[in-house]
Symmetry: C2
Subunit: 150 residues, 2 copies
DNA sequence: GCTTGTTAGTTACAAAATCAACTATTACTC
DNA sequence: GAGTAATAGTTGATTTTGTAACTAACAAGC
């Protein structure tokens, strides 16, 4: 039985399958940034996402973060707790609806956010540098389309 | 304090950050296919990846699968065990090196693979249909570059 | 041929993600 | 306004992942 691991038996090739390619690219491109927020601040993926949402868009409720970032409420809840423990964010009970908490970054949280944002910017520039300006722009547009973010 | 959740305070926007966009697109585009292999066969992500590697490229060792798919050996080991339990794959000790096992799909495994491959093909066509032919091709090329698969 | 190092794969324990059930509060309906 | 439904957020039990240590087999040096 002849084995040929580069070609395939039929017209399907796993390496061309978009969900597979997207996942591989996402994993690979997350590694370097993950290293920074993990090593430097002991944060998890959901935690930096919450931090960035507050840093980038301002005061927001846990629910809003979950909807915008497509993160399940239990994950948001736990990330918020941890960020609060570390004094990176503060909760404020909404006076008109006491179920709701408005979340904001403390100044410590803002400092962390600004630091990580610099890293993110530099890393994004590096990744985009793999392509021409037009290609990079098109890539973002296509990814937004795939993610239903447009 | 004025809040404006669409614009940002500075020139960084989370929604344009490539690792974030890639992850969001990857997650979103995996959902529909995941539903199928999960509901129809009770498989996990690593399991279909292993199944597809064997189905697509033929006999292979656990180590090879791990290298090609960038999956850690413990995850591969567990996926192989589960696929073996379900009689989707068979292990064959290599006679020249008894540490190694050659893995192949059983005919039941091939049936499952063929079924899922049809679903994958149709789904890939649907996703690629969001773009022009040239754009879709460029997208795959860029993703391969980002994933270091070229 | 015996020590030392390396490799393929597994297992055990800790960390994290998922899912369901829960509390507290508000909204709706009659 | 009492009773039911809905919502924001939390907690607990289960599943899955990640990390490290392990076994078994082979390789290399002497």
């Amino acid at each position: 039985m002849t084995q040929d691991k580069s070609a395939k038996k039929d017209d399907f090739d796993l390496q061309e399958f978009l969900p597979y390619l997207l996942n591989r690219a996402a994993e690979e491109s997350s590694l370097e940034f993950q290293q920074v927020y993990k090593d430097r601040y002991g944060m998890l993926r959901t935690e930096w996402r919450v931090l960035f949402h507050l840093g980038n868009y301002g005061e927001m409720t846990a629910k809003e973060i979950g909807e915008r970032a497509k993160i399940h409420k239990t994950k948001v809840s736990r990330a918020v707790s941890k960020l609060e423990q570390r004094r990176y964010l503060a909760r404020n009970r909404d006076t008109s609806d006491r179920r709701v908490e408005q979340l904001t970054l403390t100044s410590a949280g803002q400092t962390v956010y600004r630091d990580l944002r610099l890293v993110a910017e530099a890393y994004d520039t590096k990744l985009a540098g793999l392509f021409s300006r037009d290609e990079a722009e098109l890539l973002r547009k296509m990814l937004r389309r795939l993610a239903h973010m447009d």
